[in-house]
Symmetry: C2
Subunit: 412 residues, 2 copies
């Protein structure tokens, strides 16, 4: 692994200088190579699936592992979308004259070497490689051992693209070992890796956060809230609250707790409960919620902390905005939280005071997403505060250096 | 220490919401309190100085420790400058409509709790507290044990200012123990501290980087270069090269290695060596340098890595731009590097390809500084790439969250 790191560091220098055209050419050729390699990709993937079944992998994991025609086509499509995104590298911001006569600005530069640690989905290999490449970073990709053959087949396509564009082969390295210790080693390679991005379940992300000596861009939990304010519009509330919970259950930006202002509990909760009942969402509530919806289960203290990732929703009636903000900042995971209101001052306070990576007014938490935010693509969502917060796109994989233009200025 | 962290976390929430007026009032009252407390500050400082002399502290350390009338006045002046800076918190950038009809932008928010670990200078207590306060962050200040009484006297003034502005007393906590273990404990308080800023000598910064489980904003070395290109103007070269080395010797942005294009060695090095000789700078050179300046010492491989912080300069003759960039990216510390040139294309390449926190054309490396860059004040200079790079001012002590404004939009 140490050698992998050194090779990545060398490749990163060349990649930082690479022109946009070369990076786009590599991405386009990778897309073509993937489309031309459908039979090989499926053959190698079948080996992984067979081994997975033999090892007794869960059906959900086998599903994530499988490369279908549609999924392969969508990998190629994803690459072409990244070709279409603006290259962030070299962009100069805020270049201005200062009293001494120098011009000072900031130029966007790649981070250097990015380590991606992920689980069964082979499409992450292509997505992550493409985002790192476009943002001028070398990448070291360490996928799950259960996807080893699929990932190696994808790696062949990636190498074809890099070679066609004259970019160093080591710009993207797909780690070829199933040895679990390789992850631990990668997490300690401070000198050759600049940032680690884990993608996968909570236990993976926890392990990476705990062991890494390298900064990690991550989010652990998505305990997201919608707060129905006193002044919320009824129809909008029903639409948004249903969408935020039910549009998809397993995603990090799905609502897990609904907070309702006491003045609206009686008129909002019964019709909302009826809509949830239609789609089979199980409700749990605080004592005040159960005064209005007596048949639902009681919510425990643990429920307020829980990311169900399932058709389950906890509901709490609060006195008003202060209690709602306090609940969110205390029990939430600083991911995405939304207020439904027509009150200007309360919207303004919610935006300022809720300490989450995305804070919304009158919108579904499910909109917290790189595509919806216009970033084009995302490598993940960060609930950390340092460096990147919220959906992380190409810009989140870059840094800025100062540039100074003078004509002989010195320090007095 | 755990309690200190919990109190800081609670204070941070109040501070994040604090209005600019309240923060400015606190800073102004701290300045007044410091001016009114000159006798007490000097009495307490005298206790530290006496104890320091008894412990045999070096004269340089005793000098840094001393609070003179001028230094106390400049602490108050520094506070008033920070009052005058724009409040970064709450500023919204890039708010724009997206196809779904939502508006998405980013709002600047405090990082939360900042731990500052520093050595003998008591003025850091005021500077760091003020920058953290203005940027809406709670701070935990852990100064050197040799400055304990001075720092506690300053802490009294800080508490006066916080109280006058109705801000929580725990917004700034000056750790009251001389116990060295307190630093280790602070560095492990992941849940209550968001970022650590070490200020002091290299051994302190190395220790903090090694032990911290919390992200650190730091720079270790300042091995800065000036490259004299084939097309550099002679008079400008002499002026800038002398300023970059001699304007101050002990600072991180002082030039430590001069690179000279082979075509200019014969005409530039003799007059430059004469100027350095006038002010007593000792020169060391590579073999090609010593063909022109035969009397100077040879430079060893180790010299190219060395931050002298003294009137010593290493000089290397290179074939041209490629070799210069390669030398800087290999031996430099990614701090500040400058090219002297009149060639447009080479200036452009140098700006793009040198991987340092500040990259300059025709300017002295000594200009790499928060005040010179218009940041108003700096808490330090970062040579890291994640989060903040280069001089770190108020903005570097903040993060950005996404804000979304809608009128009922949902995910399709």
């Amino acid at each position: 692994m140490a050698e992998v790191g050194q090779r990545a560091r060398i490749a990163a220098r060349a990649l930082a200088r690479a022109e946009t055209d070369a990076k786009n050419r590599a991405l386009s050729v990778i897309a073509e190579a993937i489309e031309a390699a459908v039979p090989q990709l499926k053959t190698e993937n079948a080996r992984d699936l067979e081994a997975g079944r033999a090892r007794g992998l869960e059906p959900a994991m086998l599903d994530r592992l499988e490369l279908t025609d549609v999924r392969i086509a969508s990998m190629a499509e994803g690459l072409r979308q990244i070709v279409g995104l603006a290259d962030p590298v070299g962009a100069i911001e805020d270049l201005k004259y200062l009293p001494s006569g120098i011009q000072v600005g900031r130029m966007r530069v790649p981070l250097g070497v990015i380590g991606i640690i992920y689980e069964s989905r082979p499409n992450v290999t292509v997505d992550a490689a493409a985002l790192c490449l476009k943002s001028g970073n070398a990448s070291i990709l360490r996928g799950g051992s259960e996807a080893l053959h699929s990932n190696q087949a994808i790696a062949v396509c990636i190498r074809t693209g890099l070679a066609a564009a004259g970019l160093p082969e080591d710009a993207v390295q797909v780690v070829e070992t199933a040895d679990r210790a390789a992850v631990g080693e990668l997490l300690r390679m401070k000198d050759s890796v600049d940032v680690i991005v884990p993608r996968g379940g909570k236990s993976l992300i926890e392990r990476v956060s705990r062991e890494s000596l390298i900064p990690v861009i991550k989010h652990l939990d998505g305990v997201c809230h919608v707060y129905v304010d006193d002044s919320a519009e009824t129809e909008m509330t029903l639409t948004v609250a249903v969408n935020a919970k039910t549009q998809r259950y397993g995603t990090c930006n799905t609502m897990e707790t609904l907070l309702v202002c006491a003045s609206r509990a009686a008129d909002i909760l019964p019709p909302l409960a009826a809509r949830y009942a239609e789609v089979g969402v199980r409700l749990k509530g605080c004592a005040r919620t159960r005064e209005v919806l007596p048949r639902i289960e009681p919510a425990s203290e643990a429920d307020w902390h829980t990311e169900y990732l399932a058709p389950v929703l906890s509901i709490r009636v609060v006195d008003g905005l202060d209690e709602a903000i306090d609940h969110i900042n205390t029990y939430g995971s600083h991911h995405t939280d939304s207020i439904l209101t027509q009150d200007y001052a309360r919207a303004r306070r919610f935006l300022r005071e809720v300490d989450s990576s995305s804070v919304m007014v009158n919108a579904s938490t499910r909109l917290a997403d790189g595509f919806e935010y216009g970033l084009g693509a995302e490598i993940g969502i960060s609930t950390d505060k340092l460096h990147a917060r919220g959906p992380v796109g190409l810009e989140g994989l870059t840094s800025q250096k100062y540039i100074v233009l003078g004509d002989g200025q010195v320090r007095r």
